[in-house]
């Protein structure tokens, strides 16, 4: 909580305006791909984040990652590294950057960018195979990103 108030004051944004989420095009990544400022100002809900990570229709992160904390979710993929200990390896700002747009942290990563809305090759309308028009809705909304970050932060060895 403290952190975003400070950030909001420092960046000159009135605290009240923090109720409006940072839009996908306004996210500011530092040179290493971290995002300091919360996207919503509302602390993430780790339990909800866990649900998003495991749900095929939401983040579907387990399509590519294994997470021991979600061992009840079947069919965890092996494309990316195991997420156990992610909360030790990365701080909150780094995790936010990775989830919002992993390509800012890992150049050319296969991991999709979850808070990005344009700049795609043949963007589709969801999984219909039909054309979609940019800006597309981001894969996760701002609060979902915060929830996922809160969950990842709990993954300590």
């Amino acid at each position: 909580m403290m952190k975003w108030i400070v950030a909001a004051v420092v960046s000159g944004v009135p605290v009240l305006a923090a109720a409006e989420p940072v839009t996908p095009t306004d996210v500011s990544f530092d040179d290493y791909g971290s995002v300091e400022e919360s996207l919503t100002g509302t602390p993430g809900d780790a339990a909800n984040g866990a649900a998003i990570v495991g749900n095929k229709k939401a983040g579907n992160c387990v399509a590519c990652h294994q997470v021991s904390a979600l061992s009840d979710v079947p069919f965890q993929g092996e494309i990316g590294p195991m997420l156990d200990g992610a909360g030790d390896r990365w701080n909150e700002a780094e995790l936010r950057g990775i989830v919002a747009n992993s390509k800012m942290t890992f150049e050319g990563s296969m991991m999709p960018s979850y808070y990005k809305t344009s700049g795609y090759v043949r963007p589709g309308d969801g999984f219909t195979g039909k054309a979609g028009s940019e800006p597309l809705p981001p894969l996760l909304d701002a609060q979902q990103i915060e929830d996922v970050v809160a969950f990842l932060a709990t993954l300590k060895e």
Partner: protein, 282 residues
Amino acid sequence: MKFKAMTAVAALLVAAPMLGMADEEAELVVNGEIEMVTKTDAPAHLEGALPEIMSGWRFRSDETQQTQMDDFDNPGMIFVDQAQAAWDTAEGSEGKSCASCHNDVESMEGVRAVYPKWNEEAGEVRTLAMQINDCRENQMGAEPYKYTGNEMTAMEALISVQSRGMPVNVAIDGPAQSTWEQGKEMYYTRYGQLELSCANCHEDNYGNMIRADHLSQGQINGFPVYRLKNTKLNGSHARFKGCIRDTRAETFSPGSPEFVALELYVASRGNGLSVEAPSVRN
């Protein structure tokens, strides 16, 4: 790549108890006599991309693998029988059947292995499906088959069976080269909102699980394939369409110039693997 070792260990721990995993070392012999090459050195044009090429058969479960080892167990063969009947049936304004011009279907030996292929007269790269419809429309005066329809996939399977066991050997140079280049570029393009290319899944991650799916190299030497999932024969363009749709992209249409180019390129990645159709997949 750097996670391969880690994921291999994880795979042993996590994936092994699942649905009878594929035996990537098994060999495919059909009907106890046709020895299929399901793993071999990659063709020269893939240098630096893949060390060896493998048929999708290697990545399927033991049960699915076995279904392809005997024509009596292979549900795809039913459609081959249907196409045999169609081969001999006259249709269209000319009153001709395929057999009227091509005699026994055995005359098609070797054809599947070299398609898609440059057609000099038409000045285009033709897939087998395009050639079949060309004969239907221009030789028989008959309606073309729907590109991904059952009659088409069955006829493709019948023609492919005549080349079973022969190495795929599509030409990528000469007049076909620019089409091949176009297909190659598509293979490495990261489509859709998930920004995934064919190569992300089938070159960088074959052998890995993506959710419940065991990724293969996405080869098409076995097409058309019988899928247990939809209980029919499926052409390669239908598969391409599904894979591109899964990246949350706008797909291309089966039979489109883009998919013809992609088919030529993907087929060439399998140069050296055996023609397997109709293969069986989940």
